[in-house]
Every structure is written in structure tokens, then in C-alpha cells.
């Protein structure tokens, strides 16, 4: 129950004078009507229950709970309707966006889009989901294709580092194939002179490729690099657990004092072995859920999602970059 205006005014006046106007007793009196009934001991409660059962068979309570159940159903019915309408509205809006901003597989168009933005993320991260309905191959192929598309957009926009998170880590098993798919996609976008590419997973050697030799004489494209990092759930909590194990063993062999463990040490180790903090995290799902994304690194990352969006789409990428350019970092100030 909210305060009535009269009581709120009395409370604020008292607060203004540093709580010296009212005595504690007066304050209690002010609050009393708003408090729930005092808790009863278990014995008292049982006794009360018994008496109520005998006298009125709990009719009042039964009616009350029925009334609440009814209101619950009504709320959810209306909310359901609202959600449907919102989803329909967003579907239309997102469609219009994606028609208006389409990349047409042309890096120049993407560059045109991002040229007006004040700043770009240096490290972009995305969460992809493996949608496999029993068929292993189809979901994987889709995933690789999405990863390649995103890589191509980033290369066009001039974002040097992308990390792609997928919970199960299936992509990590297909590192060379992913590299090949991305390289193909890049050549489809850029033609002959595409940027040099490295695809890696934490704790593993990267698969690298030189920029294509043909037609890259003194070209500005040649200087470009794109590095892709594939992440999975084991780079999240498990990496912190592994670090703890290592530190514990060191402490057990008296190589380290527990007091030496500082945020800087943990940060240095985790950014060394997994990755640094991404600037922007794009979610392509309909709502915000991190599904096991590395917790340490996500501290100040701008999280972007488009409400009720389904699937990887260029408009999400573009709108995410716009949002990032507008956002201001205050670092607690």
C-alpha cells in the first residue's frame, strides 16, 4: 500500500529536518496502518486455522483466492493480447528497417551506413543459438553461415575484432571449415581484395589467412585485419573455476599467498586466456538472456537487442551500432 498524500507529506517534512521533528513513537504510529499483520508463532497460526475451518469453512478466504485467480487469468489474457500486438507491430517495424537498411552484399553500402556514427566498437560480440531440431547438419550449416555474414558486416564496417558466442561450442570443432566459409563470404563481399582473416578459439592456435595476393597493390584494404574468436559456455564459469584450481594448487605448494589474488591478477589472466572486454554485445533473440556468456568480461559491455526480433539480421547489427554510438559511458560518475 502506498503512503497517502497526508502521511507522505508528514514523512518528507520530518526527513527535511533530519528526522528531528518526530519521535520514534510518532513515526511508528505513522507507519502502523501500512504494515502487514504481525507474524504469529506456528502454534498460534495452527490454532487460528482450526478455528476458522470449524466456524466458516474458510469461505471468505476461498472467495478471495477465487477472485485473485480470476484477476490473474484476466491479467494474463490481456497481457497475452498485448504481447501478440506488440510482436506484430515489431515484426512490421523490423521488416521496414531491414528493407530500408539492406547491405546488398556491398561493403560500400555498409560503410555509408556507419560513416555518420561518432564511434564504432573495437570489439563486437554476438550470441548465436544453435537451432537444431534433430537434424545436426542443418543447424550447424546455418550457424556457420550466420557467423560468416556477421564477419563480413564487421569487416565492411571496419570493426577489427568479433567474438562469436554459441553455448554448446559446436563451432569450435569446425575451425578450418568456419574459416573457409568466412573467407568465401568475404570474397563474395569484397571481390578480390578482402582483408586478412584469423579465426581462433581460446587456448588454441588460430587459423590464419593472408590477404588475397591478387589486386592488393598498395590498396587500403590490405591493411585491414579481422580476427574472429569463437566462444562457448566453457569459456565462462569454467574458466574462472579452472583459474581457481590453478591458484589453489599454487597456494598449496606455497608459491602464492591468497592475499596476492587481486582483481587485476584475475582480470589479466582471464583476458590473456579468453578475451578482453567487448564493447558491444548483440543479441539476436527476442529478449535479453545471456545463456552462459563469459561473466567476467561482460562488465561494462553495452548490451543490445531488438525486442521480439527473431534471427540474425543486418538491421539489428546496424541499430546496435547506432545505439552504441549514442550511448555514453560514465563509469560510475
Amino acid at each position: 500500500m502506498p503512503f497517502t498524500t497526508k502521511d507522505l507529506r508528514a514523512y518528507r517534512r520530518d526527513e527535511q529536518f533530519g528526522h528531528k521533528l518526530m519521535t520514534p513513537e510518532e513515526r511508528i504510529k505513522l507507519l502502523k496502518p501500512y504494515l502487514p499483520a504481525p507474524p504469529r508463532s506456528a502454534a498460534q497460526r495452527a490454532e487460528l486455522k482450526k478455528r476458522e475451518k470449524r466456524s466458516r469453512l474458510g469461505v471468505r478466504r476461498f472467495l478471495k483466492s477465487q477472485w485473485h485467480a480470476l484477476v490473474y487469468v484476466i491479467i494474463h489474457a490481456f497481457f497475452s493480447l498485448y504481447i501478440r500486438m506488440r510482436q506484430a507491430y515489431h515484426a512490421v517495424v523490423n521488416r521496414i528497417y531491414s528493407i530500408y537498411h539492406h547491405h546488398h552484399r556491398t561493403p560500400e553500402l555498409i560503410q555509408q551506413d556507419v560513416k555518420t556514427l561518432g564511434r564504432l566498437p573495437k570489439h563486437l560480440s554476438v550470441i548465436l543459438t544453435l537451432e537444431d531440431h534433430g537434424r545436426r547438419g542443418a543447424g550447424l550449416e546455418r550457424l556457420v553461415n550466420e557467423a560468416a555474414e556477421i564477419a563480413a558486416w564487421c569487416a565492411s564496417a571496419g570493426i577489427p575484432q568479433v567474438s562469436i558466442y554459441e553455448k554448446s561450442g559446436i563451432l569450435k570443432g569446425y575451425l578450418p571449415e568456419t574459416h573457409q566459409a568466412v573467407a568465401q563470404k568475404l570474397s563474395a563481399y569484397f571481390g578480390d581484395s578482402f582483408p586478412s582473416l584469423s579465426v581462433a578459439a581460446p587456448h588454441g592456435p588460430p587459423v590464419e589467412s593472408r590477404p588475397s595476393s591478387r589486386g592488393s597493390r598498395g590498396d587500403s584494404q590490405e591493411q585491414k585485419r579481422l580476427s574472429i574468436l569463437l566462444l562457448s559456455a566453457e569459456d565462462g564459469r569454467d574458466s574462472v573455476v579452472d583459474l581457481t584450481k590453478t591458484l589453489t594448487e599454487m597456494a598449496q605448494r606455497s608459491k602464492l599467498f591468497p592475499a596476492d589474488i587481486s582483481t587485476e591478477l584475475v582480470d589479466a589472466e582471464l583476458s590473456e586466456s579468453i578475451m578482453g572486454e567487448p564493447d558491444l554485445l548483440l543479441l539476436f533473440g527476442p529478449h535479453v538472456e545471456l545463456s552462459g556468456y563469459p561473466p567476467w568480461q561482460i562488465r561494462l559491455t553495452e548490451i543490445f537487442h531488438v525486442q521480439d526480433n527473431q534471427g540474425v539480421d543486418y538491421q539489428v547489427f546496424y541499430r546496435g551500432l547506432c545505439k552504441f554510438a549514442r550511448a555514453q559511458m560514465r563509469m560510475g560518475r
Partner: protein, 356 residues
């Protein structure tokens, strides 16, 4: 001009006793209705936007924080009446010490005064059965505030119904680091209690006495009081002897003998993410179900990183924290309930497939 009159008239009407009574009835009904569905067990709030609210309403910054406190009281009431078991609020970040000094002092003063009142009205939280905990780096709190904090925590510690976690100088990275550090300390400085160690001489003595058929009273009593049967005891002995050289991963205690003085450390390989979770400040709270941040900023800002990065539903709302009320929280809760029941529907057939 007419606009002004209209808003005045509306204000007057909304604050008239009958309207207020009707509103409070409506609130009660809505809360009662929400209780019919699933309710999140642990909710976290980032109370962001107090200063922007103050700026846009042309009032002092510290006034904004006071209004933020009122919003917190409202929201806590809604949460506990709905049946939420634990609420965690981000009151003050370690990074906030970078703010102007008068503002930091103002917030500290606010916290001190409010907690002092809480101590004075001990029965207030007793009605809700709520206990207060203050999470964060205690050594950054000034001694006079720390004293009040400790007293407030102590006076409410016996309440068991629900928990209010106030994160006060807190960052999640600091929390995780502390959890790692205490885990390492646990595993490296406190050897296992000595009743777990087996003295080889005692066992050989016992074996000998068994073979000899001499069961004196003293030995029999030892055998009765020790819980493990004799065979497993010798197994353990074998294990620990071999572990000194090879250290198999499945034997929990590892021994290193330094000149007869036995120090036993628990095996580091037994550390799991639950070990770290249980060393966090939020140990003992149910898993985080709902994360709400106001003021339209879409960042976690170093809050509950470990707790919310798995299947927590995260909501970023556009309203400022002092405006936050049941009317903003209701859609969030209803959407959470909707997703929860959807998840349950999806889980059920899958489980049936697994069983078949």
C-alpha cells in the same frame, strides 16, 4: 493554461482519500492475483536514474536519492507481498567513489540515517520477516557508517522469511575475486580437521590386536565410535599412500608429509562452480531469476555478473528509478510469469521423450 488546471484537477482527484483508497485496493488485488502464478525467488534491481530524475525535475541531486529511497521502500513492499524470497539492490558501486565528495557524503549520510531508523524500529522488518545483509567491500565504508551497518545486520539476522541484500560499495568483479580468494584460502590454509586423518600406527595396532584376538575394552570402544567399517579404512590408507606420488583426481584429500608433520589439503580438482557460488556474497540466496535495471541504460555495470549470466531474465526499463512503482514492475512480472510457464510447457514433452 487549461492544461495546468487539468493536471491540477487530476492531481487533486488522484490524491483525494476515496481515490487513494481505491488505488490501494487495486494494488492489493493485483498483488494477490500475481501470487497465483509462479513468483521469482530472487530479484535484483539496479537503482539507476536518481540523478537524472533530479536534474529533469530541477531538484537537488541528494533529493533525487531520497526519492529513490522511497521508491525502494515501495518496490520492496510489492516484492515481499508477492512472495519474493530475496531482493538484491545495487545501492553504491565502488566506482561511485569517483563522484563529487558532497554527493558521496550525502549518500553515506542517507544510508546511515535510514539504517539507524531501521534499528530503532526493529519490529518493522520483523513484520515482513526480512533480514538485511550488506554486501560489498566493508573496508571502504567509513567507521561510523560501518558501525550502524553492523548493528542493523545484527538486529535483523534472526528473521528467516526473506532477505534484503544491499550492495554497498560493491562491484561484481570484486565479489568474484573475493570468492576466488576465499576458496583458495579454504583449500590451502585450513587443513582438513584431524579426526579425518588416519594414524597408521593405530590401524596396525588394531589389526594386530584383531589377529591376536585380544579385544581390550579400550580398543572396542574405539571401533564402536568410529563410523567407517575397517575395510574402507585400509582402502583409504592405500589411496593416501599412492596419492603422495601420483595424486589421482578422484581422491579428495591429498597428503604431503613434511618430516612426520602431516598437512592435508583438499584436492583442488574438487572445486566446481558451486564452490565459487557458495563463496560469493550472495551465498545462501536462491538463484537469481530476474534482473531489472531502470533508466534505459543497457549495461550490467559490474553488478551480479556471476549470478545473472546464465538463465536470468534481464529487463532494461526506460523509467527513472524514483518513478519506479508497481505499474512499471507489473508488466515485467507478468512477462516473466509468461515466459516461465512457456518454458515449463516446453520442458514437459522433452522430459516425456527422455523417459520413453
Amino acid at each position: 493554461m487549461s492544461d495546468l488546471y487539468l493536471s491540477r484537477a487530476r492531481n487533486w482527484f488522484m490524491h483525494s482519500p476515496p481515490a487513494e483508497w481505491a488505488l490501494s485496493r487495486l494494488r492489493e488485488t493485483l498483488i494477490g492475483a500475481l501470487r497465483q502464478g509462479p513468483i521469482p525467488q530472487h530479484v535484483a534491481f539496479v537503482m539507476d536514474g536518481n540523478r537524472r530524475y533530479a536534474r529533469s525535475h530541477k531538484i537537488e541531486t541528494i533529493e533525487g536519492h531520497h526519492l529513490g529511497f522511497e521508491a525502494l521502500a515501495r518496490v520492496l513492499e510489492v516484492c515481499y507481498k508477492c512472495g519474493v524470497k530475496a531482493v538484491t539492490v545495487y545501492a553504491f558501486s565502488i566506482e561511485n567513489f569517483n563522484r563529487p565528495k558532497y554527493e558521496v557524503d550525502g549518500i553515506m549520510q542517507l544510508a546511515k540515517v535510514k539504517l539507524e531508523q531501521l534499528i530503532q524500529h526493529g519490529e518493522l522488518l520483523e513484520r515482513y520477516g526480512a533480514s538485511v545483509r550488506v554486501l560489498g567491500q566493508r573496508d571502504l565504508i567509513s567507521p561510523d557508517v560501518l558501525d550502524v551497518v553492523d548493528r542493523a545486520v545484527a538486529t535483523t539476522a534472526h528473521n528467516k522469511e526473506c532477505i534484503l541484500n544491499i550492495c554497498f560499495p560493491y562491484t561484481s568483479r570484486e565479489e568474484i575475486t573475493t570468492a576466488i580468494r576465499t576458496t583458495v584460502e579454504d583449500y590451502s590454509t585450513t587443513p582438513r580437521p584431524h579426526n579425518n586423518t588416519f594414524s597408521q600406527s593405530r590401524i596396525t595396532q588394531k589389526l594386530m590386536s584383531k589377529q591376536g584376538g585380544l579385544s581390550t575394552d579400550g580398543l572396542a570402544s574405539i571401533r564402536e565410535s568410529s563410523p567407517a567399517p575397517p575395510q574402507s579404512r585400509t582402502d583409504d590408507l592405500d589411496d593416501s599412500v599412492s596419492s603422495s606420488s601420483t595424486l589421482p583426481p578422484d581422491s579428495p584429500p591429498s597428503k604431503s608429509e613434511n618430516g612426520g608433520n602431516v598437512t592435508i589439503y583438499p584436492n583442488a580438482e574438487t572445486i566446481t562452480d558451486e564452490t565459487i557460488t557458495s563463496h560469493l556474497y550472495t551465498a545462501g540466496c536462491p538463484p537469481l531469476d530476474l534482473f531489472v535495471r531502470t533508466s534505459g541504460v543497457e549495461r550490467l555495470s559490474d553488478f551480479m555478473l556471476w549470478q545473472c549470466h546464465q538463465d536470468t531474465q534481464i529487463f532494461f526499463l526506460d523509467c527513472m528509478w524514483p518513478e519506479f512503482d508497481l505499474w512499471h514492475f507489473l508488466p515485467v512480472l507478468v512477462e516473466w510469469q509468461r515466459r516461465q510457464s512457456k518454458l515449463e510447457r516446453e520442458e514437459r514433452p522433452r522430459r516425456r521423450v527422455k523417459q520413453a
